[in-house]
Amino acid sequence: VADGGIEGSTPRAFRGLQPPDELFRILRKKIWLDDLHEAFVLRPFEAGLSVCYDCPIDRCIEVLPAPGLNTMYGVAKITVGQVLDLGLVVVPDTPNHALILGISWEEVDFVASRLAELAIIVDRTKRIRR
């Protein structure tokens, strides 16, 4: 979807995220189901970790802007408050997509470990982008 919103939904302004709000990290590699740490490792080309919000789990893959992401193996859930408690920030960039920012290169793995400890895998279904 061009604007990052869920197809078929009414366009709306971004809302402010609150600590109890849930964020969903797509598990786009099968190995991430076994090693959640790797799911939260910031990649060299990334400014932040991509997450979905206000989005049914089975439609997360449709709102991700990442080109080439056609397959996912599940979803991990974490709350905005848990992310903020680590000294990070969550910045929405579309009505259903946000970036977790504030991860320094020296702390990529430390932050990945903390996020992996807090996150819960809520879905283990292989899905393919339609």
Binding site: R28, K29, K30, E38, R43, F45, D109, S113, K126, R127
Partner: protein, 138 residues
């Protein structure tokens, strides 16, 4: 849609137990040959990962008689031409990142953590062997 459990093949499990050094080298080679979900790493990352990890395992084998007590690592890529391996034992873990190229050097590093400490170190054979030994120390 289908749920797919993660399983390492029985043959790979046996190789990991009987010949850990050969196992890690062959798994790194598999990444370089192309693995589902992964970006093929650069030749630099492949060569560097194989050289350092294999040599570290050989040091452990000499030091301890065997590296077979070492947990099998996870093998993945950073999606930018680099290779990442991770070992976990209880609450301890060691992670290594082999960057796609010599520069920036910050993308090649060793990270370790336990409940009481965490640190990033230079990734070389000696440091990796020492940290894997630390991991096995319980």
């Amino acid at each position: 849609m289908s749920a797919e459990p993660i399983t390492r093949s029985l043959a790979a499990e046996r190789q990991a137990l009987s010949n850990p050094s050969s196992f890690v080298a062959s798994e790194i080679d598999k990444l370089a040959a192309g693995v589902q979900d992964e970006t093929i790493p650069t030749e630099f990352a492949h060569r560097n990962a194989r050289r350092i990890v294999e040599a570290a395992y050989q040091i452990l084998e000499r030091k301890l008689g065997s590296a077979e007590r070492l947990p099998a690592p996870t093998f993945t890529t950073d999606d930018a031409g680099g290779i990442r391996l991770g070992w976990r034992s209880g609450a301890k873990q060691v992670r290594v990142s082999f960057g796609a190229a010599p520069e920036p050097a910050t993308q090649t590093y060793l990270y370790f953590e336990s409940p009481v400490e965490h640190h990033v170190e230079n990734l070389d054979t000696e440091n990796l062997a020492e940290r894997l030994s630390w991991l096995m120390a319980g």
